[in-house]
Amino acid sequence: MIKRVLLILIVFTTVTLAQETACEKIASYRMNVELDVAAKTITGTQELQWRNNSPLAVKEIFFHAYLNAFKNNRSTFLQQAGAEPAWGNFFGPDWPQDGWGYLEIDALEATQVNKFNKTSILPTFKYVQPDDQNPHDQTVFRVELPTPVNPGEALVFNIHFTAKLPFKGIRAGFVDDLFFAGQWFPKIGVLQENGWNCHQYHRNSEFFADFGDYDVSITVPENYIIGATGILQDSTISDGKITRRFVQSCVHDFAWTASPDFKVITRTFKHANLPEVKIRLLYLPENEQNVSGYLEGTEAALQHFGTWYTPYPYPQLTVVDVPGDSRLGSMEYPTLFTVKIDYNSIPGLRAPAWTAIHECGHQFWYGLVANNEFEEAWLDEALVVYSTIRCMNAVYGDLQSGKTYLEHGNFSVPFTLRKVKMNTAFRAMESYRPWAQWDVMDNDSWAFLNNKSYRAQQYYKGALMLFTLENILGEEVMSRIMSSFANRFTFKHPTTADFINTVNEFASQPMNRFFEQALHSTAVVDYAVKSITSEPETGLYGLDEQGNYIAPVEKEKNPQRFNSKVIVERAGDYVIPVDVQINFANGETSKEVWDGEGKWKKYTFSGKAAVLSVIIDPERKLALDVNYTNNTLYAEAKPFAARRWATTWLFWLQHLLELAAFFA
């Protein structure tokens, strides 16, 4: 056999960015791993350099072992996933034996200069369950050092591990010969002033980690195409296998994927005032129709978010398209994200672009501004959805509604309802409305009723809250808030309080009450116009001061003056000041501001014209308002619209009845 050794050195111009050095490197990983495509395992070594950045001296070290979420049916993750109807039969009793996933630690040594050197601490290894004490959950483990590590001191861990990817796993796993490694390696928790922040893996939770440098060499069969966090340094081919080394500094996670089926497109994002970014798209041939949407979305996001918030600081961004019916989902990782488009998505809703913009948005909110997604997911999700909607509006304007016919499995016939436009923000409202009163937004991600409620709050209510904030404060103030927040907290771990403080710094008045209701209550915004009455003014009748009877005069045909009464109502329990606009029949308008405190408010007018209509919140500032239909009331009804749609409905039914005669 001819042994062929080939060394390919790909020379990159090293792009050193000022910001990269600004990141505080706490956990840096060097890994050397190999994918066994038959066993679906990744085995290898890890050298982790970690620094105690907290004020505490600690002896115990906490690690995540996320893949153990797929180890048995009683893991916290699968218990929570099983409670969701959509995941009901997933990982059920008939799940294949080799379908489970796990992370096994084969060796674990710790080194601290002048204290201990390559000491095995594996005997101290213990699974712990800080969130729910579920004994079957093995997604967090702790080990003990020979001696405590003091603030500011550094440690090196040398770990041998085997990661088994789950079949059709959620966020990580394999489908046919596509492998996606997310949350796949032993990952150290975050040590904070109050101890370890190292949560178990929950169905709804995403992640939290410290920044550092990653240097990962991955070996796969030669015909496999790899996409990974960071930049490809070099590739070595030997024995039908290829080893590729990826390096990225100042990130807090590393994900990669490999498949022989990927097709690759590379493109360079260029924009005046923004650094160039190489976009590398890996897509599956069956999803070719989504490629333009992915690329358009990614470029639009890099441009708009780079301009609005902060420039994307890394030289490369990898986009990975995954099968539309897989559970890998659309997911963000530093300098890499996945896009999953339903095979039955409606073209007019532009799912490929929307998803790419959303996940690319996470490069900023989560990737750079790295909040704790376990505890305060809204801080990235809401900011991302808000940003995505703004970006979609800037690039595409309104979306086109549509529907699918004959939906069956992965097949459907899409149909565009060309007359029905919809604003992207409606989609946020539609997802939020059904769950508006079930949960509060700022809560641990596993404390929600279900996944839909979690998303309704963290993603959609959050985004609507930010739009409301923007409308109250004005676009300019809001953009200053967002860019300041981005720039201040890039490579940091901001909290909800940091965001509110940033808002209050720029807002003309403190917004604490606004946030209190939005973040910590289930209150909904719903202002409505309750009634309008306009009566022609009549003179005094009855008994006068002296007790003399005054007879009523007949109503005039063309009255000169009207007495009008308008009642507006707070139908929700969220209190927020609101504008009220009263339109009179003679074209005049009157504008009022209601503090919104009471349950209702009455306005009375006496003038030459009757009230024509009343609009509460005419500029639509309150994006959180769950029912905008009741915001406008006319004094007089006009049934034309109802007639138009009722006759159309009648026609539809007549046609249906005529078709029913088919069976006679």
Binding site: V175, D176, E286, N287, G324, D325, S401, K403, Y405, L406, H408, G409, N410, F411, F415, L417, R418, K419, V420, K421, M422, F426, M429, R433, S613, I615, Y628, T629, N630, N631, T632, L633, Y634, A637, K638, P639, F640, A641, A642, R643, R644, W645, A646, T647, T648, W649, L650, F651, W652, L653, Q654, H655, L656, L657, E658, L659, A660, A661, F663, A664
Partner: protein, 325 residues
């Protein structure tokens, strides 16, 4: 005799007796109006004094609908964006036949449809009875008396057809779609041809059932049979023996129907009923469409009846010729 002649004879029969279609049309609209009234009053309550009426006069407002639909119940659920499209509201109905999800629009609509099946079974007796009779022409009393005369048989046939159709949607229908799933292969997103083929096969089977029951009715009337079950058997034999002719005729008329749907779908799609005058025009168009569709349905019966009559004459004359020899 070819199928074109049968169709042209059939359509002539329908046109000369257009008053039957008119009666059935009146029944159709009356039945529909009964439940359209509450829908209208819901729409009136929700739209007529709200600001959204300005949008809904011009177009379908998705945002209004989304908050309306959130609280909608029963019939209200059938008010939907698809009403904004001339095509979509028709396709929504055709889709029921391909998916078998007849309760998709709720129980009220389902039972209204079911009622229509039996009402149509009643009138079919009159319709086919009159077409079968070459001498006498239409009169309202004759139409109704013929309907009554055949009703017990036609009711039994409708019931049997519903049963057959039910079995089809519970067995063959999922089987064929599962086969399509398997040949499309687990994760592949592009399996269009397979599913198109599967749906065509489903249409073929539905049409076959329908054609058999159509000829069963025709045989029952023409041959004066007294057992509807026997007629089904005779119809199966007839359809299988003349598969190309019977299917050819049915498909040809279906193509005419499809053209009709596409024409009116297009017309209703481009016209925006944003003023009273245009709305009245649109209503006229809609009602004309329903009337023509009823006429077309009758053309199926009339043409098939013509085809059957000619075929059996040929068979009979063939037999006589053989005897003479």
């Amino acid at each position: 005799m070819n199928i074109f002649k049968a169709i042209s004879n059939g359509i002539t029969l329908v046109i000369t007796n257009y008053k039957m279609a008119l009666i059935v049309y009146l029944v159709n609209i009356l039945l529909a109006i009964l439940i359209a009234i509450p829908v209208y009053s819901t729409l009136k309550d929700n739209l007529s004094d709200r600001g959204v009426r300005d949008v809904m006069e011009q177009n379908f407002d998705y945002e209004w609908w989304s908050s309306f639909n959130f609280k909608a119940e029963g019939l209200e659920k059938t008010i939907r964006p698809a009403l904004s499209s001339g095509f979509a509201l028709l396709f929504d109905n055709f889709e029921l036949f391909l998916t078998g999800k007849f309760t998709g629009f709720g129980t009220v609509i389902f039972f209204w449809g079911l009622a229509m099946v039996f009402i149509s079974a009643f009138f079919n007796g009159g319709v086919i009875g009159l077409y079968a009779d070459e001498k006498r022409t239409f009169s309202v009393s004759r139409f109704f008396s013929l309907s009554g005369f055949y009703f017990h048989h036609f009711f039994a046939l409708a019931l049997t057809m519903l049963l057959v159709v039910f079995v089809f949607y519970k067995t063959l229908h999922p089987l064929i779609l599962n086969l399509a799933d398997q040949s499309a292969g687990g994760t592949a997103g592009n399996a269009w041809p397979v599913y198109i083929l599967a749906y065509l096969l489903l249409i073929f089977i539905i049409f076959f059932i329908k054609i058999v029951f159509d000829y069963a009715k025709i045989i029952l009337v023409l041959e004066n049979k007294n057992s509807s079950w026997l007629c089904i058997w005779l119809a199966v034999k007839f359809v299988v023996r003349h598969l190309f002719k019977t299917f050819g005729l049915y498909l040809l008329l279906s193509v005419i129907g499809l053209c009709l749907v596409l024409c009116f779908g297009f017309l209703l799609d481009v016209v925006n009923a944003s003023s009273l005058f245009i709305l009245l025009t649109v209503i006229l168009l809609q009602q004309l469409f329903i009337f023509i569709k009823i006429g077309l349905r009758f053309s199926f019966y009339a043409s098939q009846l013509e085809l059957y009559r000619q075929r059996s004459v040929e068979v009979v004359t063939g037999k006589i010729r053989r005897k003479v020899k």
